[in-house]
Structures are given as C-alpha cells and as structure tokens.
C-alpha cells in the first residue's frame, strides 16, 4: 500500500499501547464534563433523600458520639490529653473523606459499564468527579468540626491550633490523591477479579483500625512506629489532628514517607487504569 502518511492524523487507534500511554491533555479537554458529573452526583443525591445535606452532618456526629462512648468512656483509651470528642471527630471527618473517595471510585468500571459501552471519553473523568463531589460532603463535615472546635476553644479546652494548619490544604489533596489512587487500582482489578469488591468492605474497616483514629499514635511503642509510618493515612490523620488541636506524635519523616507512598499508589493506579480502560468492555 503506498503509504503517504505525512498527513496529520489527529488520532490513531491501535491495540494495546505501552504502559505509559496516559493522555492528560485529553483529560483537561473534558474538564467541563468533570464538573457536570460533580453537579449531577450532587443534585441526584439531594433529590433522592429526604434529609438531604443533613445526612452529611449526622453521619460524623453519630460516629463521633459512638467512638467517644466506646473507646474513651468504656475502653478508656487516652487521647493525648485532648477532649475525646474533638479527637475522634477530627479523625472521623478526615477518614470519611478518604474512605468514601476510595470506595466510590473502586467500582468505576462496573457501575458505569452502561455509559462506557456506548461512548468514549477519558475514563478517568468519572473517578476524578467522584473525588471532587466528595469534597462537598467533606466541606460540610469540616464545617461541623470547625464549629465544635470553636466551641471547645472558647470554653477553654486545652487545644492549640498552630502553624501546621498551612499544611491542611496539602493534606486534603493528598487524601484525594490517595483515595483516587487506591480506588482506581481496585476498580482496574475488579474487572478481572470480582471477589475484590467483597474484600473492600471490610478492608476499609480494617484499614481504619490500622490508622490512628480511635487511638493516638503516641500509644504505639516506638519500635513499631515505622510500621505505622508505612500506612500513608497515619501521617495524614496525625498531622491533621496536630494542626488543629496541637497535640500528637507526628514527625516530618513520616509525612515524607506518606507523601511518597501516595505518589506511588496514584501512579500505579493511573497506569493500571489506563491499561484496563481500553479493553475492559470485552471482559465485563
């Protein structure tokens, strides 16, 4: 065939391409779609519930109350000298954001098979939209936390918000990245291994208990702290709590490890995701 391929093809569709064929510029082109998905999720969520946004407030409130009763009153786990209610709420609010990002992105392929089977757009749009719409719920819960923080502060509780607060936006981005990374990693694997979806439910539970949410990191013996540092959520939760409440056992190197782990998980997730997205329609 006389090949005069000097014409400028805008796109070439071939079988599997390399491992690192990730088209970020295309994702940017679809930014409107990301925002519309966020809007859709949000509107649809409200229209289907009676209490609407109130749910976002009730959930962390009840969890915190339950944690306070069980872990502080009954089990008598110390809270670094902080008011237990604030201690648990700070952990719960942050953890909830991460966990919902992860669980809701983890079934991307399966829940969206209908749309994905009919039209092409960069598949990453969907999990990114999920992470952003969860940010709205986080903002509401965070507002609740701030309200309690102010109340405790004004009534003279022993809490010291400090300069680490500047790190909070970064922590938020990191949680989003980690939740997204884990979520798409799992969603890529569930197209092949359906049983992972079942494991996820209690996996999240176990992970929560492996993270200093119902206990402070200072309770962990020093020789085991390195193990906890490998869990990227440890440093995030501890730093988050330290920034607002001014007590905890966070060290900078832990934050560094956590950061590196997050980047690694996100990178592996994106690579695997973009590999699966091309052919998953045939296997699902």
């Amino acid at each position: 065939m006389p090949d005069n391929d000097n014409t400028n093809w805008t796109m070439e569709i071939r079988s599997r391409s390399g491992w690192f064929d990730i088209n970020l510029s295309e994702l940017w082109r679809y930014r409107d779609l990301i925002l519309l998905f966020v809007r859709r999720d949000f509107v649809a969520y409200y229209k289907q519930t009676i209490l609407g946004p109130l749910w976002f407030l009730l959930q962390p409130l009840f969890t915190t109350v339950v944690f306070t009763i069980i872990f502080s009153r009954i089990a008598q786990i110390p809270t670094d000298g902080l008011p237990p209610f604030l201690f648990y709420m700070s952990g719960t609010v942050a953890w909830t954001y991460f966990a919902s990002c992860m669980t809701q992105t983890s079934n991307t392929f399966i829940t969206n098979a209908g749309i994905f089977g009919k039209v092409y757009f960069p598949r990453l749009v969907v999990p990114i939209a999920v992470v952003i719409s969860n940010l709205i719920a986080f903002a509401i819960q965070f507002g609740l936390f701030l309200a309690f923080l102010c109340y405790f502060y004004l009534t003279g509780a022993d809490i010291h918000p400090n300069g680490w607060l500047l790190l909070v936006p970064l922590l938020l981005v990191q949680m989003a990245a980690l939740g997204l990374g884990m979520g798409i990693l799992i969603s890529s694997m569930t197209t092949k291994y359906r049983d992972l979806a079942f494991a996820l439910g209690f996996g999240v539970q176990l992970w929560m208990y492996a993270t200093p949410i119902v206990y402070p990191l200072s309770q962990i013996p020093a020789q085991w702290q390195w193990l906890f540092a490998l869990n990227p959520m440890t440093a995030i939760i501890e730093t988050f709590r330290y920034a607002f409440l001014g007590s905890g056992a966070i060290q900078l190197w832990m934050l560094g490890v956590s950061f590196a782990m997050t980047i690694l998980i996100l990178a592996v997730g994106i690579v695997l995701f973009s590999r699966v997205e091309k052919t998953f329609m045939d296997t699902i």
Partner: protein, 424 residues
C-alpha cells in the same frame, strides 16, 4: 490522498468465548504458584501444554478479520451486513469504546459517536441539565452547548418542559431531546448506529434530514443500519460485511442489491447456533411452501407458511410472537399471536406457524424480523431479518411492467361497475 479522514488498516477483533481468565484471584494465584514451582497448573485444561495451545482451541471468535478501508472527507458511508457480521464491533472500535486486537485506525478530525441516544441521561436532572451533561459526554464544551442551546431546544420541540426532570417525560420526548443534543454535535466525523429507529415518523424524517445536512456541510458520516431504505436514501457508498470480512465496498445502490440477493440466495432459514437462554427464545425459523419444503423463493400466488421454533424456558402470561414483514424500504405489515399458557408449564419447544396467503404480497424481496415480547412491556427475544423471502411474479397482469411501483400488496377490492342510477 489527503482527503482521507478515516483509514482502517488490517483491523482484527477477537473475542474469547467463555471465561477470559480464571476469574478469581485465588485461582490466578494458584496457577502462578504452580508455575513458579514448576508443577502442573491445577487450573489448566488436561493435556494442554501451555497457554498458546490453550488459546488455539476454538473458543475464540473473530468478530472482525483483516478489515481495511478508507473513508474520504464528506462521504456518507453505510455499513451493511447481517446479524453478527461485525458492524457493531467496527463502530465500537471507531468510537474507541473498545480496542482492536490488531491493526490500526487513523482518524483525522474530531469523532462523535452515537451508538445510543441519551447516553448518560439522568432521570432526576431537568431537560436543561441533561442537555449539558449529555453534550459534554459526547465531547462538547460548555461554551459550545450554550451557543447551541436554543437550537437544541427548538429541534426537540419540548421547550415547555425544559426545566422538568426527564423522569417525567414521555419516552417520545426523551428520545427527541436526546437526539436533538446528538444532532447538534459539530464533529468532523459522525459515527451513527441504528438510532433512527426511534421516535415517531415525523421526527424520524427530521432526523434523516439533519443527517443529510451534516454531510452537505462537508462532514463525514459512518452509518450502520438494517433499514436498506435509510441507507439508500442517505449514503452514496457502502461497505458490505459478512462474518467479519469486507465482501465488497462501492456504490451504495450496488451494495444493497448484492446484500439483498445474498440474503435470499443463502437463506434457507434461520437457526441459532447457541442454545437460547432467553425466556422465550427463537431457535429456528423457516418459510415453507405448499409442499412442506423450506424454501426462500415463492410465486405471488403461493401461500407462505412461516414456521418459528421457540424454546419456552419460562411460560409468561400474555407473551406474544410477532413477525414484522418488510421490504427494502419499510415495514409492509406485522402479524402476531399470543402464546397460550400450557397447563404443565414445563420448558418446551414449540412451533408457531403463520400463513401469509397467496395473491397478497407483490413480487419483491421481503425480510422477516421475529420478536417474542410482552406487549407494551418488554422484548424477550429479537432476531432482525431472521428470514428473507423473494416473491416472483407468477403471472400477474402487472408482470409485463416490472419495476413500476404498484404498491406492496394485491387486494381484491370487489370492484363493480354498474349503470349510475338516474334518480339521484
């Protein structure tokens, strides 16, 4: 050659039938562990030496084999073929829903594909919100949609309900809105599956007109349809697919004739290879002449018996079998019957027979689409163009002037001519 906008080269798509991998993590780990220790894979088929050999068994299915063609700028190309010829697979690959097994497609320009109308519509959102969402899914920017918003609303004819959630729309309104968004896409290349088969007749006409306009503006359209009428109307060139290969490409009118002749030539009836697992599965269909033989050629005086074998896996109250009879342009008539529930309700094979009387259908080629369904509820099984029959003139008075359109059926209208009564 600079005006080629789609170049398909040696495209193959292979599906593996049955399970793709072992399906569970446990067994994959088990296999991996066995491989590591050098023992036999507990999950391998007995006798298979390695994966290659496993793959060479006939559990593979090629939906497309070595397909190559070019589409030029501004062309409307129709893709024709029977069920399972690979049309939909081809469209899916062009629209990037799935990747090919080998081969490449090079595309110049923005592609928008319409494999379905209303993809991503959310019932809770209003018409306005859905226009934006659906538009964005199809690849439009927000600005573009805003610019065309009024046009889209006008085209869909639902301006009064634009701020109502679409879950309150009638199905007609829903489809009109969905198509309106799609019709206002501005891609250089438009890929369309049989979405025109929806909506009322007037709206269909409007859609066809819109597709024609798209091409007049110099854009390219790739169009798949079972309706030869729409292909003939819209497309100048066509590609005929059969069992995953291109049989012929060329002028649409020539290809349509070949397709129709092909279908009649090798159609001794329809038979599914797979075991029907639908509740009421159509397994076999034949056109039988007066002598009881399955044939596809009849004279216009012969009655035609259509025998449909169904496997009834579940007896459903109110289920019906329907036959759509159509010629190359439109449906000529439909006929249906209710499946009366058997008392023992056990799975069973049944044969339904319908007789099309002689001296009824005009000489033409007809395609029979078979459906089992529950009226106004759901389609249980659908076989597009399951049968084709050719009716030749067995000596009617119109035979001499063949090719003139005298209508679709012979009707004995009981003419009388009497002297007009004078006292009126």
């Amino acid at each position: 050659m600079s005006d080629v906008v789609i170049r398909v080269e040696n495209l193959c798509k292979e599906y593996r039938l049955g399970t793709i991998s072992h399906g569970t993590l446990y067994r994959d780990i088990q296999s991996g562990w066995a491989k590591l220790r050098g023992t036999e894979d507990p999950n391998a088929r007995i006798g298979a030496v390695n994966r290659e050999q496993l793959n060479n068994t006939n559990d593979r299915f090629c939906a497309l084999k070595d397909v190559s063609f070019d589409v030029r700028q501004g062309e409307i190309v129709g893709i024709i073929g029977r069920n399972g010829a690979g049309k939909s697979t081809l469209l899916k690959i062009i629209s990037r829903v799935t990747a090919p097994t080998s081969g490449t497609i090079k595309i110049k320009g923005r592609v928008a594909s319409l494999l379905e109308v209303g993809t991503g519509f959310h019932p809770e959102l209003t018409g306005r919100e859905n226009i934006f969402l659906n538009g964005a899914i199809l690849g439009m920017h927000k600005g573009e949609i805003e610019q065309k918003f009024d046009e889209i609303v006008a085209f869909s004819e639902i301006d009064k309900f634009i701020d109502t959630p679409v879950k309150r729309y009638s199905s007609g309104m829903y489809v009109r809105l969905a198509f309106a968004v799609a019709a206002h896409l501005d891609p250089e290349i438009l890929v369309v599956d049989e979405v025109l088969a929806v909506g009322d007749a007037q709206f269909q006409k409007k859609c066809m007109g819109k597709m024609g306009d798209v091409a007049k503006e110099g854009r390219t359209v790739v169009f798949v349809s079972h309706q030869m009428g729409s292909i003939a109307q819209l497309c100048k060139s066509a590609i005929l697919l059969k069992e995953g290969r291109i049989i012929r490409k060329g002028l649409a009118s020539d290809i349509i004739i070949q397709y129709i002749n092909d279908m009649v030539g090798n159609s001794q009836g329809f038979k599914v290879a797979l075991s029907g697992n639908k509740d009421i599965a159509i397994m076999k269909a034949e056109a039988i002449n007066e002598d009881g033989n399955p044939v596809s050629l009849f004279t216009h005086t012969q009655p035609i018996t259509i025998a449909i074998t169904c496997r009834i896996n579940k007896w459903i109250r109110g289920a019906e079998i329907r036959i759509f009879v159509r010629d190359s342009r439109r449906n000529v008539f439909t006929t249906d019957t209710e499946i009366v529930i058997d008392t023992n309700c056990k799975p069973e094979m049944v044969v339904a027979k319908a007789v099309i009387p002689g001296n009824f259908l005009r000489p033409e080629i007809y395609f029979l689409t078979l459906v089992t369904y529950i009226p106004n509820q759901l389609t249980i099984d659908l076989i597009q163009d399951a049968l084709s029959i050719k009716i030749i003139d067995g000596g009617s008075k119109y035979a001499a002037s063949e090719g003139v359109d005298y209508g679709c059926v012979f009707v004995d209208c009981a003419w009388t001519i009497e002297p007009a009564s004078t006292n009126k």
